[in-house]
């Protein structure tokens, strides 16, 4: 392995603007969520509303007490977050090989002393760093919001853990995109498949809490099942689930390396 880190650094440098913009956007979302809390806090009827099937279908299983700080953040922020960051992670996944292959820059890059697998691994490592930076900026938003909203009492450590838990689900989405884009040649098709899978996963997670039926075993195919739901901050992060997502990520990346190593580029 030679000249390690050149791709990693370049990608991070090129993504600066995107990382900061996304970080600020997510931080603003965090601030808005936090400052709304006092209005929800005194609105106990909302818990009855949340038990309506339609609300459960939208927002999840065994609805958390949304008037409690942890239930509130879990339901209105962390449950939703992967759907938002999916946009970044899936686009990033397409950018690892597919976008450069379509544009032809890969013909330049891979004529350098750079193994194909190293290109993928460095770009994937840069994604971990980019997501971590984005989430760090988001946490700053939380702190800002909590300063003006003292009634939202959550342990900052729990908040960091919940943010960390966002990494595996995003990595699995990016890795799935990467794998599909090394097999299928259409970026649009790959984006469509992964998008459907992510939203499907979300609704399988929320609906499966609603119906007690053996058919709901498909919940195990939902990445949100392993991510956790609206009770994430009340019951604690499911680290076993997170670990499983990381293992799946590793397997998907390994498969991508194998398929990409073998095939013709730009055909």
């Amino acid at each position: 392995m030679k000249h390690t880190g050149v791709i990693f650094k370049r990608i991070l440098r090129d993504s600066r603007t995107a990382i900061i913009a996304w970080g600020i956007g997510l931080a603003v979302y965090a601030i808005f969520t936090v400052v709304i809390y006092p209005f929800v806090q005194d609105f106990k009827e909302i818990n009855e509303m949340m038990k309506l099937p339609i609300m459960q279908a939208m927002l999840g299983d065994k609805a958390a007490d949304v008037t409690s700080p942890g239930g509130f953040l879990g339901t209105y922020f962390f449950l939703m977050m992967p759907l938002i960051t999916a946009v970044y992670s899936v686009l990033y996944g397409l950018g690892i090989t597919a976008a450069e292959e379509d544009r032809g820059t890969l013909d330049v890059l891979l004529s350098y002393p750079l193994p194909r697998w190293q290109l993928i691994l460095e770009k994937f490592a840069a994604l971990v760093a980019a997501l971590a930076l984005m989430l760090a900026i988001t946490l700053v938003g939380f702190v800002a919001g909590m300063i003006v909203t003292p009634s939202l009492e959550v342990n900052f450590g729990d908040l960091i853990l919940a943010a960390l838990n966002l990494l595996p689900i995003n990595l699995v989405m990016a890795a799935l995109t990467l794998l599909l884009s090394t097999i299928l040649r259409s970026r649009g098709l790959v984006g469509g498949i992964v998008g459907t899978f992510v939203f499907g996963s979300y609704f399988v997670k929320t609906f499966s809490a609603l119906v007690e039926d053996p058919l709901t075993n498909i919940r195990y195919a939902s990445i949100f099942h392993y991510y956790g739901g609206s009770r994430m901050m009340l019951d604690g992060v499911d680290w076993g689930g997170a670990l499983l997502l990381l293992v799946v990520t590793g397997a998907l990346v390994a498969l991508s390396l194998a398929t990409f190593q073998r095939r013709d580029l730009g055909t």
């Binding site: 030679k2 000249h3 032809g104 820059t105 013909d107 330049v108 350098y112 002393p113 073998r262 580029l265």
Partner: protein, 308 residues
């Protein structure tokens, strides 16, 4: 030269099919150290396909290729250390400036000699502060040349390098190629342009429909060169007077007063004969690659056609 140890590129039975398209069929070719090898062929002949196999961007259907005795696939990484590449359809990162590009790509080589980069920039007269997206196609081509040359590789693989370069830059390019050769390094370049290949290459391979038709030294090819000449003459012309001339053939009368014929060898007899007439205009054309090819291999070509 031409010892086994001097072989830089060794292509052995290389075949590449894209579904039903036979892009390359059983190609055998050796390129030697210190030569500029021109790879000529019409559109779709398989030039880019050959180059992309050499760079391990695509994998052959059959056969193999070695560069410096290293397998192009298995030993791609160490091999690429010694190789500079200019793709035919060059794509670079739009948001980068020329200097960003040198920094990024130079980094992948563990750093490059910036004095030499500056020399290349100066000689190619390139504005390196300009972003790629603001570059004309010729400027992008110059950036492509800079990145291919900047680490002084032992082998340059260039796919239609002068495509889109203005004549002045082409001159500089030719000069650079001669310097590369004089330093004992090797150049493999593809082209459509026979006169250009004639000026800078030592040997030429002619590829057609995925098959290598001929590999010749340029000096041999030049002996067989011919030109088309068109004369626009005021007054009557005696075609026979031209037909009799040495080296002249295929004399035809076009529209009134215009005749066209082939000239091989020296021009002097033609000029002297034309001196008898009032010449309004004269045109002198390079034969197309196809014509050279037919001239050279006309007989095998016709037998093949008959067999079909």
């Amino acid at each position: 030269m031409n010892n086994k140890s001097d072989i830089v590129i060794h292509i052995d039975g290389l075949t590449k099919h894209y579904g039903a398209v036979k892009a390359l069929s059983d190609l055998h070719l050796d390129v030697y150290r210190g030569e500029i090898f021109g790879y000529l062929g019409p559109n779709g002949a398989g030039k880019t396909t050959t180059i992309r196999v050499l760079l391990d961007l695509i994998r052959p259907t059959a056969g193999r290729a070695e560069i410096f005795g290293l397998d192009v696939n298995r030993d791609a990484v160490p091999l690429h250390e010694r190789l500079g590449n200019l793709p035919g359809e060059l794509a670079l990162w739009n948001h980068m400036t020329g200097w960003d590009l040198v920094d990024y790509l130079g980094g992948l080589r563990g750093g490059v000699d910036m004095n030499y980069v500056r020399e290349l920039v100066r000689r190619l007269d390139m504005d390196m502060t300009r972003k790629v997206k603001a570059c004309s196609s010729g400027m992008k081509r110059k950036l492509g040349l800079i990145q291919a040359l900047m680490h002084k590789p032992d082998l340059l693989v260039l796919d239609e390098p002068t495509n889109g370069l203005d004549p002045l830059v082409q001159q500089t390019f030719h000069q650079l190629m001669r310097e590369v050769r004089d330093a004992g390094r090797t150049v493999f370049l593809s082209s459509h342009n026979l006169p250009e290949v004639e000026t800078i290459c030592d040997r030429v391979g002619i590829l057609r429909a995925g098959r290598l038709q001929a590999v010749e030294r340029i000096s041999d090819l030049k002996q067989l060169r011919f030109r088309w000449m068109t004369l626009h003459i005021r007054g009557d012309v005696d075609l026979a007077a031209f037909e009799r001339l040495e080296g002249v053939s295929d004399v035809t009368r076009l529209v009134n007063g215009t005749i066209r014929f082939r000239v091989a060898g020296e021009l002097d007899p033609v000029i002297k004969a034309a001196g008898q007439y009032h010449i309004v205009d004269l045109a002198y054309e390079e034969p197309s690659l196809e014509e050279i090819f037919l001239e050279y291999y006309g007989e095998t070509e016709t037998t093949e056609t008959k067999e079909r």
